[in-house]
Symmetry: C2
Subunit: 288 residues, 2 copies
């Protein structure tokens, strides 16, 4: 029995279509167009590509593209002042500072200026604190995209033995917090875990965000388990994940491919966060 | 083989003695006496007892007792203004608003005014966010007291299969975050967990903060495991914990009693936090 392949592209498309429809309804009702201010400092080519993708998606969803581009030699004070202006600007629903910022700038301090209500990346200390406390707030995009994939494929989470491999700030820790919030019995593993395969074999839901190619083989997967692969590695054979896809597809019940699994969800959830931020700002609805 | 009984009173005493010695050294070096501002609104008798214990411990450790008592009918604005004054006062190293506050006051909003550098309870969203991100900050007292107990009894955490039962804001979630930070392979269980005993039996370290008397019996404990009981229940037979002490002591390797286990650690760690806050404020040392 080969696993059902979780179609992240299709789920992401549906989320984006739903956001676009809700944006149109929100504009009709309130007269307000949600807007995303992406902030790019300098000319790092990869960052420019990422930001470009976010801006296009934003426009496609009917939101205002309020992009700001600053030269690489902009001072900390100038970037901070721009972020403060965006924080105060009612036309700006969400603010995303593209990382990394050029050397000489303190990226963490800059991100920290984004108020939680506009923190569509969900990565500031305030947003992380709200998530850890289980309080309403904007959640980081890749972790909430993982939850969206699981929900879309009707994967039961409540009471389910669930393992997250990796404890990064960007994925491992926040997805673990979201899964606990969804009542999973949650185990978090990492490089120090003894007998990783045995721990993973106990999971009905396995989320792999280890950043190591093919760290999860068939021996680490319970037959029928749902496996979410957050890894992304360029290899001579193309993009590969943290999961040995060909081996694991023969054991798992449901499995994300790389590419086309978790990847497309990140921008989709960024758009949803921007809409949620706009709704919360007008008090018509809130993130939660 | 009967378990080694973890002597929380002795460990707490040692922590308090160490804090007192460090406070004296800090005063000698800087001329500054660390001070704890406990804030009690109203006359709830239990709260008065708790605050009294904290104030006495504070004085015993050589720190200034900067207690503030407000009448029960104090307005939200007045309590907020007092907290802001304390936040700005350099003589105040730490601020602790005793909860619950009287009806009509918004306790969460009041606690949120305490800046992270003076949040000796470690319970504000900012402090919780710092913990969740693994950044330096003041940690909540009971969870860090549990880590102190484990360290005092040389319990290996790195790579160790560890189970936390309970996901409260006060204990379960933060102790899980601290244990992940110490490289434990961490499972968090709760009321929705299926076959709790089986999950717990997989743990070499088991922390029980479920708030249900005797929820953990001998069948839920791996032989030789270390068991930390955070429960506290008044019964006709006296104080009891979440662990069936008499049954589990025949299986566990190390075990905290109730009372005299985790309980005494909370005030000890509050004192340490106050010292850490004073050190961080003068830049001589920091919480971390």
């Amino acid at each position: 029995m080969s696993a059902v392949i979780i179609d992240g592209k299709a789920v992401a498309r549906r989320v984006r279509e739903n956001v676009a429809r809700e944006v149109a309804e929100f504009r009709d009702r309130t007269g307000i167009q949600p807007g995303l201010a992406t902030v790019l400092v300098g000319d790092d080519p990869a960052s420019a590509v990422y930001v470009g993708g976010k801006r296009r998606a934003c426009v496609e969803a009917g939101m205002a593209d309020l992009h700001q581009h600053l030269p690489a030699d902009t001072s900390q004070e100038k970037v901070a002042a721009l972020l403060d202006d965006l924080a105060a600007d009612p036309a700006v629903s969400g603010i995303l500072l593209q990382l990394p910022v050029p050397e000489g700038l303190d990226g963490a301090a800059l991100v920290g200026r984004i108020p939680p209500g506009k923190d569509v990346d969900g990565l500031t200390t305030a947003s992380v604190g709200l998530l850890a406390r289980g309080l309403p707030g904007l959640r980081p995009c890749t972790p909430s995209g993982i939850i969206e994939l699981l929900d879309s494929y009707d994967v039961e989470l409540s009471g389910t033995p669930t393992v997250v491999v990796g404890r990064s700030e960007l994925v491992g820790r926040p997805v673990a917090a979201l899964l606990v919030g969804r009542n999973a019995t949650l185990t978090i593993c990492h490089s120090r875990t003894r007998d990783l395969a045995a721990v993973c074999r106990g999971a009905d839901v396995l989320v792999v965000a280890a950043g190591k190619q093919a760290i999860i083989g068939a021996d680490a997967v319970k037959p029928g388990a749902t496996v979410i692969d957050v890894g992304m590695h360029r290899t001579p054979q193309g993009l590969r994940g943290d999961v040995d896809f060909e081996a694991v597809r023969e054991v798992a019940g449901k499995l994300t491919p790389v590419p086309g699994g978790v990847g497309p969800m990140t921008i989709a959830m960024l758009l949803r966060n921007t809409l949620l931020a706009a709704q919360a700002a007008t008090g018509t609805d809130g993130p939660g």
